[in-house]
Symmetry: C2
Subunit: 189 residues, 2 copies
C-alpha cells in the first residue's frame, strides 16, 4: 500500500471512530493529509470505497491483535483483560468508538459490502472472546457460568455499549464503571 493511501486510511479510520461515517468529509482528511479532495478520489473513487478499505484493514489488524493476545497471554483472564483494554483505549481517547460500533451506528449510510465486512468482524471478535472464556474456564482464571458463545456475545455488546456511554460523559471512568462487573469476573491474570 502506498504511503499516501495508507495515510488516508489512517486518517479516515480515526475520523470514523471519532465522528462516524457521515461525520467526516473528503475535505477533512484532505486537509489533514495535505492533499486535495480530488486526489483522494484517485485512491478511493467513492467514499464507500474508502470506508470499505478502512474496514478491511481493521479486520486484518484485529485478527493479528487477537492472535497476539492469545499467544502472549498466560491465562484466559489475562487475555480477557487485554481485550477489555483494547476497547477501553478507544473510549479513553476522547470518546472514540471501535470501528464496528461506529459503523454499526451508521449502518444506514454504508453499502452492503461494508455491512457484510462488519458482520464478519463482529463474528470474529465474538469467536475470539468465546475462545478466551473457554480457556479461562479451563485454567480457572475467569468465572464462566453459561454457554461461552452466549457469554461472548453479551460481553461484546457490553464493551461496545460501554464505549457509547463513555462518549456521553467524556469520562473514561464511565467505561470502567460499565465494565466493572466484567472485570470482576477475572480471578487472576
Amino acid at each position: 500500500m502506498s504511503d499516501t493511501r495508507e495515510t488516508l486510511v489512517n486518517l479516515a479510520e480515526d475520523a470514523m471512530c471519532t465522528r462516524g461515517f457521515g461525520g467526516f468529509s473528503y475535505a477533512d482528511i484532505a486537509r489533514d493529509a495535505g492533499i486535495s479532495k480530488a486526489s483522494i478520489h484517485h485512491h478511493f473513487p467513492s467514499k464507500q470505497d474508502l470506508g470499505l478499505a478502512v474496514l478491511v484493514r481493521y479486520g486484518e489488524r484485529l485478527v493479528e491483535q487477537l492472535a497476539l493476545i492469545g499467544k502472549s497471554s498466560r491465562s484466559g483472564g489475562q487475555a480477557l483483560a487485554a481485550i477489555i483494554d483494547l476497547y477501553r483505549a478507544k473510549a479513553g481517547s476522547g470518546g472514540m468508538l471501535c470501528l464496528c460500533a461506529a459503523l454499526s451506528a451508521d449502518a444506514h449510510a454504508i453499502d452492503a459490502r461494508a455491512r457484510d465486512a462488519l458482520r464478519r468482524i463482529n463474528n470474529l471478535v465474538a469467536a475470539a472472546i468465546e475462545e478466551v472464556l473457554i480457556a479461562g474456564r479451563r485454567d480457572r482464571s475467569i468465572s464462566v457460568g453459561g454457554d461461552p458463545r452466549s457469554e461472548a456475545e453479551s460481553i461484546l455488546a457490553m464493551l461496545q455499549g460501554a464505549q457509547l456511554m463513555t462518549r456521553v460523559t467524556g469520562e473514561p471512568a464511565t467505561f470502567d464503571a460499565a465494565t466493572a462487573v466484567l472485570a470482576a469476573r477475572i480471578y487472576r491474570t
Copy 2:
C-alpha cells in the same frame, strides 16, 4: 403541545432512532408530515432545538414507563424482563436504536444542552435498573452477584450494545443472543 408540533417530534424521534441525528433532514420529516421545510423552522428554529425537544419528551416518557413497570411488576424479575423488552422492541423494529444509543453515537453532532439531557437520561435508566436489581435480589427473582449500581450500568451498556449488533445483522435474534445471559439471570417473572 400542538398537533403539528407533536407530529414533528414523533417523526423526528423515529428518524433519529433509525438513522441518527445526522441521518435525517428537515426535508424528510416535512414530507412525512405533509408540510413545508420552512414550517418546521417555525416550530423548531434550529435542528438542535428539534433534537432537544425530542430528547426532553423521551426522558419524560421514559420516567413514566419505568414507573409503570415498577408499579405493575410483581417481582424484580418481571420488571427486568419488561425493561429488556423495551430495548428489544426497538432493535426488532428494523434495527432501531433507543434514542440514547442513537444520539450517543452522534454525540459530536449535538450541542451541549442535548448532551446534558442524554447524560441525565442514562443516569435515570441506570438508577431504575439498579432499583429493579435490588428488588429482584430481595424477592429472589434475579441473580445479583455484585454491586447493584455497577451491575445496572453493565446491563445498560449490554442493552445498547445489543441494539448496535442487531442493526448489523438485521436479525432480531441477534439481540436475543447478545442478551441471553442477562435473561438467564431471571429466575422467575
